[in-house]
Amino acid sequence: MSTISSHNPMKNAVAFAGAATTGFVAKNSGRSQASLAAQACTDVIKACGLTAADIDGICGMVPSPPEMQTMLGIPRVTWFDNPVMPVVNAVAVATAAVFSGLCQTVLVYHTPYRLPWNTASSLQDPFRGIGMPAGSGPGPESIFGGVGYTAWASRYIHEYNVPREHFGLVAINDRSNAARNPGAAKRTPLTMEDYLSARMIRWPLCMLDMDLPVDGADAFIITTAERARDLALPPVLVNAVTLGMVEKNQEDQTPSLRNHGQQVVVDALRAKSDFWTDGTDIYFPYDGFTPITLNWFENTGWCGPGEGGQFVEANWNAEQQRILIDGRIPVNPHGGALSEGGSQASGHIREAVHQLQGLAGERQVAGARTALITAGGYFFNAQGLTLVSD
């Protein structure tokens, strides 16, 4: 028996009042996560026309909500939480907290940061290496963590007999879109030759298949739709939000490419939302690793299993070197995790909010009113969010 239903009493009752970002850099910024988060958080509070005293909920990972409250002098909060990534999880709990009345106006934030195990150069910042004992890992004979996506990429190639170029198109699409995003970390054009000659990290994935470690921060205000309508920026309504996971969710025990968290997200989000692929103006599939994006195209229903690469080819705009589905719908127009920077989906959500507010600058999708976000990967982090303009 399935427990998934269309039941969604909070549909369109809660809204993003605003979003802000520091922009991302693919180098050690010389700043703390607190500094980056403070910039994004104060920017979004001010952009919404609010003050610290208006915030009664805090939701984020680093710095912790108690640290954030102290840092920004937020007088009193009635709810706070520190949910795990990706960031749709934070949106889900903040939306539910507002809808239920635990609080009314939540500050949500996320701070992508180059951690000592991301890159060798991260370790050149002595502060980043503190507390990281050397040689304490389980050794190489494991596919936990990021290696898991590489392992399932090998399975994807095995089952569907597709070339690595299908992964490469995902990377090129992101880079072409990032060229129009001044906050993106990588904006120089990328060719298929560049992709195929990039350094192999873990076969079958190379450097350009993996999200870019960056420093930066995003911040959001989530409040009731009613209150958002009285604030400075156009509200963006949460149409539906969901997480998804199946019984066997360890990287090496996951049943198959056609049976993991993404299918649960698709079933639930589709049942709870007012629109799906034929009604969205922008699509945001997660791209922490390129095969995740192809799997999202397939599971979301844009195409069949194993057809993600062919779908991208069929919807490729050669002049712009990017995906325009049906000649119209851009995919990760901010440049995604691969070129804007790895943000654990906060960048995707922020871009969706800005697009639906008409604040996306030169990459604005004319008349955009709906956005479909399918965040996260396969195992224990698949998530979905549909947003509509008010």
């Binding site: 040689g135 190489p140 494991s142 596919i143 290696v147 399932w152 990290i201 360890q250």
Partner: protein, 150 residues
């Protein structure tokens, strides 16, 4: 013999491994070069990773049980870089493979494959358990099964 191995010994012998009261028997088995996987003695269901209850019938009569050590490569990665480990040289990309064990569909164990060129280590190939030494403790690994059709 391994009854004399204390929990503290296990932590010292298997640095970085997920040792708990539920996984300790698996690691004690490694010291005897026996690959132990949790199995429910009531309904026969195998489980990975080791939890203290059967996910199918909720029996707590779950016993670490030796597997035959035969299976099929389900996933494979070749690491061009990775964590330092004695005897692992990434100048030849290092294979990490998830093996589907013959005991039960979907029951998988992840390690490396030894004794074969990387081009031969592909999804679908049959493998057999073997053991190597890793910093003084036995490590379960796999070899391609000779004469087996893929």
């Amino acid at each position: 013999m391994t009854d004399l191995i204390t929990d503290a010994d296990l932590v010292r012998l298997f640095p970085g491994q997920p040792l708990t009261h539920d996984s300790a028997a698996h690691y004690r088995g490694r010291l005897e070069r026996r690959l132990l996987i949790n199995r429910c003695t009531d309904c026969g269901t195998w489980q990975q990773p080791p939890f203290p209850i059967c996910p199918k019938c909720w029996s707590t009569a779950v016993v670490p049980t030796e597997v035959a050590g035969t299976g099929t490569i389900h996933l494979v990665v070749f690491l061009y870089q990775g964590p330092p480990a004695p005897g692992v040289d990434y100048s030849t990309p290092y294979p990490v493979a998830t093996i589907e064990l013959d005991e039960q569909p979907g029951l998988r164990f992840t390690s490396t494959v030894i004794g074969a060129p990387n081009d031969d280590i592909v999804i679908g190939k049959r493998v057999t358990l073997d053991w190597i030494d890793r910093a003084g403790t036995p490590l379960p690994v796999f070899r391609l099964t000779e004469g087996a059709a893929s």
